[in-house]
Symmetry: D2
Subunit: 426 residues, 4 copies
């Protein structure tokens, strides 16, 4: 299933006048304050977020999973789903593959399909947190950190294979998320586990093409519940430094202890030129993988404030790999992703409204009240007309959610695929 341009435009038509009024009014106000609205819209249009191939079906918890109808059951269908989202939002122009769940059978066909939908291949993700059928070694007690060399070698080779697959598709980065750790005190020797991990990462790094990056994710707990080998940004940063210039840290918003100041971490990593990628989601308790911006939108805005600052002032960082990493337990996965993309663009737009010179000046004067006023002035602005404009200029929908519903996309998918399909990897 594919959404035709004219369907989107039809769905836009009836609200176009309202949009234009709102946009003109806001644009006028912002221009008076010195904002270059066109530049801002261009930046929003350039901001593309990858959709991971595992996010197109319903997720679940250890207590069970309630599937959604019409889920994609192969990689082609997954890319088609992303195509739908991208045609509506004009923000989802990339896919991030999870290997081995989504190994292409026919590389050319897949590349052609993605190309036809204007979708690039972003970071590829390895999986050493589950045992695959026919695998010789088990990851039950760890992969890159395992005390057994045979297990480590299998995990290293898997990552090299993933690079190889990604290379054929045009990916330029490998994301390594390790579930390795321990459930009980004493189970692991922390020093050995870290040393093994460092050595393994270096072996993978050796196989990295010159124009690739390696992104090292961190997470404090889960699936291991006592310790994780790469538990925090400090460890990820240390490992990235040990590997070399093409290794970076990757921040996933849900991978922090309660009350963490994530925006500060983002800022410090950027100042050191070591932020390589970003996984968006939201959470109230742990790695809840909820829709981006659904719980703490102001925190997301503060993070984007640091990202905007860093993208301008810290050129030593690479182009960041942006990805949504959420789970869709009670929503239509495509609607959930549309809401996430909207929240990301909103936070980005608001962060772009901050007058960085004025802020710096207030900071120099220790005018704390003014600093807050500046941030809140940007945050309180209703930027939705800007997002709409950015989208429709590129052929997207004024309201992607409304268009998705009025075009009855989900029923179209069910008709095509049947009700009880299950996405691979779930």
């Amino acid at each position: 299933m594919k959404i035709e341009q004219h369907h989107i435009q039809d769905s836009n038509n009836k609200n176009l006048k309202t949009h234009q009024d709102n946009f003109d009014f806001l644009s006028n106000n912002l221009t008076k304050k010195g904002v270059n609205v066109n530049t801002l819209i261009k930046k929003l249009q350039d901001f593309q977020v990858a959709i991971p191939s595992w996010a197109l079906g319903a997720g679940g918890t250890r207590f069970g999973r309630f599937s959604f109808y019409g889920e994609p059951s192969n990689l082609e269908q997954k890319i088609q789903d992303i195509g739908i989202i991208h045609s509506l939002t004009q923000t989802a122009g990339a896919v991030s593959l999870h290997i081995p769940w989504d190994i292409p059978e026919d590389y050319n066909a897949i590349k052609e399909l993605a190309g036809s939908l204007d979708i690039k291949f972003d970071a590829v993700n390895s999986n050493t947190f589950q045992d695959q059928a026919n695998a010789k070694e088990s990851y039950k007690y760890g992969s890159l950190s395992n005390t057994s060399e045979a297990v480590r070698q299998q995990a290293i080779q898997h990552n090299l294979d993933v690079i190889n697959i990604g290379n054929k598709l045009g990916s330029k980065s490998l994301t390594v998320w390790l579930a390795d750790g321990s459930c009980f005190p004493g189970q692991n020797n922390f020093q050995t586990a870290l040393q093994n991990t460092e050595n393994s990462l270096k072996d993978i790094y050796k196989g990295l093409p010159n124009d690739w990056s390696m992104l090292i994710e961190y997470k404090p707990y889960e699936p291991n519940f006592y310790s994780t080998v790469i538990q925090d940004w400090g460890t990820s940063f240390m490992l990235a430094n040990a590997c070399g210039d093409k290794a970076y840290s990757l921040v996933d918003l849900g991978h922090h202890l309660p009350n963490s100041n994530i925006e500060q971490i983002v800022s410090i990593l950027m100042s050191k030129g070591k932020l390589g990628g970003f996984h968006f989601n939201d959470s109230k308790y742990g790695d809840d993988d909820l829709t981006v911006g659904s719980i703490k939108p102001y925190a997301l805005f503060l993070i984007f404030n640091e990202l905007v600052y860093g993208m301008k002032n810290n050129p030593q960082n690479p182009d960041l790999a942006w990805m949504i990493d959420a789970s869709h337990n009670v929503k239509d996965p495509l609607e959930d992703l549309i809401q996430s993309l909207e929240a990301i663009q909103e936070a980005y737009a608001k962060a772009l409204l901050i007058d960085q010179d004025e802020l710096k000046s207030a900071q120099l004067n220790n005018d704390v009240v003014k600093c807050q006023e500046i941030l809140q002035d940007a945050y309180r602005t209703d930027v939705r007309p800007l997002l709409e404009k950015a989208r429709i200029e590129n052929g997207g929908a004024l309201s992607p959610i409304n268009a998705y519903r009025s075009l009855d996309v989900r029923n179209g998918l069910i008709k095509e695929r049947g009700k009880n399909t299950v996405a691979t990897g779930l």
Copy 2:
């Protein structure tokens, strides 16, 4: 020092046209969506928040305190400060006294002063967490929960005295916040401590005038670091039920464990007719007492969603005692309070925009995506023109912060009071 009406109007004049344009545009949009803008503005105007008498000077931490210039050094000056805030915001029409820090010397004079500034006397607060000079008994090991009857009696009598003072001023409620608890396992017998507290509260309750309420605050920790006698809403609720119909729970936003869902607590207390008061502030880690809305504005909005719902659907609750309970360590206290008041009004206005019928209908259909869209549509609306309108109709400032600064209020206060005054209780 007092701000004259015409000074405020002068400061408003130059931005009045911009305001009117913004208001008209927003009002028009909202009206089209079915919002009765006048009703909404009336509700904002009726929403008055008490300023506690201890919040007009700089706060501090156990590591020290950096004082602010021109602090009020007696109750009259504190009320004058609130008068300044109220004249600018038209939202701070009440004071909440802390006894013994602010016992009036001349009741009539104080009442007259407050009346002239349009300030009412809201809940009075007792203090049994510090020893007063000349006090016979010490609260080091607790007050209403103490194992010593003499200490409990002293604390009960103090609360009765506070009621008496409040009564002379027109207050209608007593807020009891207990610091009681323990720093170490074994220090307290939990059951005895709770039973003593219940008995003490009942004794205070007996002395409560018929038209008064008793508000029982809860807090999980600090200043005691192992246990608190009234640790959570469940305990507060149990005690309020034990005391009687005039006893209620009081929610302070900072008094919860990490990740608590406060809006749910608010909702449940309202459904049971047992929410009596509310202390506003914001926090990232614990009882940080930061400016309202400065850290988690969306959570504040969700709480107001429950308050709005409850104020409409749960008439069994009393009129709530609203108060700001923040500490001002690095800002001018008056500016901090102005920012807090603005954030409260903003959250309230946004919550009022939620179409409760549409929400209920989406909930019945388990349309989770729609539920979120409804909340976010309200939240993403820039309601500042509504707040401005509500203020200026009542004689307040378009922008209270800007007016406060352009009128050079702080320097006026310093001129009147001198630089190095210290507010009582700090």
Copy 3:
């Protein structure tokens, strides 16, 4: 597979002398301090903990599951596994069934088997957090709290069916754990959800036999990640009161927000006669379901201090339903359960060593240092000889783990059952 008495005794023999020396030395010391060692041992022997029928196989996380060899694949085998544990520890004399995973096919045969192993049927557990094949209604959006009456009725009826099943086996209590809640703000109307839950529980309560209890579990989050309907003890307590005298709260150690003072909750529930059951496990981050005592053994001791106090001073509580509720992701499930049972007995024994009169006296004197000394003196005592004595007097093993290994139980089970069996419900 069944362990024969003489095998256990053989395995005990070689360490019997060492045990006796240790026991004599400790017993002598304790007697000098006024402890009645025989009474204490009798209490340890009487303390029996139920094993849930889902805990005999490997657990997992949402990221995957690594199965264990020789898992029981039907109810008979599960009860045999418990029989093995009980014969070694003499502490696991009960099973807690999970319905529908473990509905007996032949009630008499199952009762006979359990009886032959000295195993009672403790609380039965209903399951409304997963959809069953052929179920008419789905629990995706809640069960007892669902906005749809048909769903609520199905869930109520399921609970009544569970009571019926339990009744045939001799169970005397029903444990209700609800996964109900919401993943996103706005998804649920908190008041409606709670009211529906209360009504549904009352309907179940009506079907409760006179000599049964209903145990209402609470949990702050997971599988729902924004709110849970029965989020904390306060809500559980309120619901138990609404249902009636036979309804109680059930405390699961892992179901609390970070930093919660669980021992205080236990104490308050007991003082109000409303503690009905207890689920043991341990955790560092959330509901990690780790081996009891593996992370915070001192907290477990403090909880037992309150339990011991309450069992003596609060006779209004029923006999508590004790159960282990852990998940076994990286250990042999039977070994994990043995370690949990040992940790429970250890904490209980240490709590029994506390001189409650001395403690009360130190509390009255506010001698905080002494209070701590009293608790720590008990906690620092090595009570293992007492546990050994309690076990071997009843025919158990000196060291259940060592006996389990030296008797090569797991290989016996694999031989009987095959390697790749999977326990129902996992």
Copy 4:
């Protein structure tokens, strides 16, 4: 006041026989298991912990302070207090000075006094979190990170002065704890604040004598409640690397976010040769500064497990600066310190009992159950007889708390100093 040796011995006499029996029995058991008891006792005796000069009086919270009778009111008296603790425990052979609270007036006299009590001068602590009378610049908005160069210079110079003072006394390390940070989003530019801090630390480092270390403490929040410049070990580690070989991280047990795995941090820092010092205390919620071992003794044991491992396997670390950093709000400060010292020695002794070879072997076999058994076997051992032996061999008390009380030390101090003295800095 000074405790005479013969008084301690008198107090020991009546329990000496019991001690000897207990010691012999334990020693015999441990020897059978292959433990060299003499070596272990020697290690306990060598383990000396510094007492900070601010810890001899009652602490407090922002809500108030309840003073203790007989507090030391000058440095001499503080050192005498430490002398008392050391004579009883034989574990507190060092003092850690806080400047400017405790600048010696007569260096030689102070050195002589300390020497006579067998007390060394450990790390010196600077204070840039409070303004000193007559200070030209204020630290309200930060010290080493301040945007104003004048403020930074003042803070740098203060640290150099502290080094100078320490140098005269024989100290060999400087501890830098920064309160710097921000209370509100936007207040600080994270990158600038960190860069300023790095530059300032480098300037201090230049003034460090060759045989000194600089210890960089981290803390996530408080007194600033939105961000701290040196928020976590990662930042501290990065700064230490930037400064040079003599700069190290310092771990304070209370300075972590909820649920942090501190033992892993300790382990990683040691493996990188960058752990320089350690502040002991305990906590349930935040930086509660409670008695060591009073809340989470097992976590303390796990930390010591890593320390013991690191002290053996990571010779690249310096001799660690051990210090107690607790606050004494409801206990006699000296008794509190005695309890802390006991808990430290206990955790150390238990960690020394772990058979590291056996543990490593179980880890290599992924025998998780065995790993736990090994740790718990050590932890469950009652090591008090070893601590007693270590103490009395060196002239200390069998039970320091009992001796302190039977010798009526507090009343002696009150007699000498008067009741209402107040320790400097409180």
